[in-house]
Amino acid sequence: MLNSLRVKSTLLSIILLVLLLGIWEGANQAPADSKPLTEYELLMGGASQEARVPPPSDVIALGWKELSDPFYDAGPNDKGIGIQLGYSIYRVLVGFFLAALIAIPIGFLIGMSPLMYNALNPFIQVLRPISPLAWMPLALFIIKDSEVSAIFVIFICSIWPMLINTAFGVANVRKDWINVARTHQLTPIQTALQVILPAAAPTILTGMRISIGIAWLVIVAAEMLVGGTGIGYYVWNEWNNLDLSSVIFSIFMIGVIGMILDLLLAYAARWVEYQE
């Protein structure tokens, strides 16, 4: 039953994909010319005056070419997709792990101490809704390095979901489990590591998963602003080059990498999950 459901859904997905690509392909063909081109038209590069979205066949052909040599480096304006994605992933991971390093301990503090919760909550509530890109000018001015500023923007946008989820997870550890730790005379450190951390781990991992998703959304915009390298810069650069096939291909690659990052954390979450 389950098996047949899976077969059916896969089949439906494939049909939808073929249908969408077919419509896209069909709607974006250059019209076949019946008359030979005039001299003027030949000079202008064809009869069609209207710019068209490249059909999927062009995008797939380009994608094949790019993916068969993803790491070539022919100067600052022409690098392989692998190199650009690599820069972006590197920035996201550095910013994300720096944020985790700070957000999880502070989340513990806030979750365990109502005093700290009340004292820090106003700061969090004001800082959290700020678009991470709004920090960019200030970061560039203070840090004076576009590369580090991009990482800072990732850091600042990934910190909040992890901080809030950790605090929530820690504050909501079942009282009974805390009592078990107390009756066994565990020290506060032992209680934090042996009882609270494993109990709150699924909630913390959920926060990390939200964070990395946001970080991956933000890196594209940040790199468009900062420039130089990265997938965000690449998309904008290809737009300036009017190479729409590359733009569409890189949009697709952004989606694929985002999905992989999410899957990795979903996999990590399974390690710490428990059933009550």
Partner: protein, 283 residues
């Protein structure tokens, strides 16, 4: 002068009322002692504060007034000398049965090697008949098995005093009967001092040496201390034929149904008046 093993003196728990100067007294003037190796049950209606007494003994709650002495020393905070079996098992769900027992053992003897901890934990899991389930997580165990793990964890730390808060309250009658017999067996081997809360009159008679009866709250009191004059070892199937069984049972039921409400109308004058009446119904 020798002290009793556990002394509870004039214990009281109250909460501040809505208006200033008002207070809501859950129970007061609780005076009783427990000897080493004794199995004592407390029975009372809901809201009389029996769980609060147990939590104070465990060090998880604080009394508003009065003292608890163990070996003549004041109790302050939780301690491994006082093990607790909670009603809802309170196993750590991310640990296996064995790891849950080892959690207690490691806390009790931090210097033990890993093998020592495992061996000791396995011994107690075997005692509750769960050797085959050592690698299962609590979510994969039935309610009865979970409570067995919880009991194994408490006994494995070999506390001086074992506190049990309605340990079988959430179990079905058949499972309860089986675990009660197991508890008698383990208790017979280890001679722990046990302080247990229950709602079940038959369970109290089967297990305990003495039954403390509490009146209804607010202003609840420990009114009577009934001696269970039935020889050990006891079996569930046999004790009902003992001549004292129904005498004790009727006395307990009569107290719970008819008298638990009247008792607290008698004002509390002094410490002496609050000492529970000793009842011995042996023929």
């Amino acid at each position: 002068m020798s002290h009793p093993f556990l002394e509870i003196e004039n214990l009281k728990k109250s909460y501040p009322g809505k208006e200033k100067g008002q207070e809501f007294v859950v129970f007061e003037g609780a005076n009783f002692t427990i000897d080493k190796g004794e199995f004592v049950c407390v029975i009372g209606h809901s809201g009389c504060g029996k769980s609060t007494i147990l939590n104070i003994l465990a060090g998880l709650d604080e009394a508003s007034d009065g003292f608890v002495f163990m070996h003549g020393k004041d109790i302050s905070g939780p301690s491994l000398e006082r093990g607790v079996v909670f009603q809802n098992y309170s196993l750590l769900p991310w640990r296996t049965a064995l790891q849950n027992v080892a959690f207690g053992v490691k806390a009790r003897w931090p210097k033990w090697s890993k093998e020592q901890v495992t061996d000791h934990s396995l011994k107690y899991l075997e005692l509750v008949g769960l050797k085959d389930a050592e690698h299962r997580k609590p979510s994969q165990l039935s309610g009865g098995m979970r409570q067995r793990v919880s009991i194994a964890r408490a006994f494995a730390t070999q506390p001086q005093l074992l506190l049990m808060d309605e340990p079988f309250g959430a179990l079905d009658a058949l499972t309860r009967g089986v675990i009660q017999e197991e508890l008698i067996k383990i208790w017979g081997e280890t001679k722990q001092t046990v302080f247990m809360i229950t709602h079940d009159v038959d369970e109290a008679i089967l297990l305990s040496d003495r039954i403390l009866l509490m009146t209804n709250g607010p202003h609840a009191r420990v009114a009577e201390s009934v001696k269970v004059s039935i020889d050990r070892p006891r079996k569930r199937s046999d004790i009902v034929h003992h001549p004292d069984y129904y005498k004790i049972r009727n006395h307990l039921v009569d107290f719970l149904v008819n008298r638990s409400n009247e008792e607290n109308t008698v004002p509390l004058h002094s410490q002496e008046s609050a000492t529970p009446v000793e009842v011995d119904l042996a023929s």
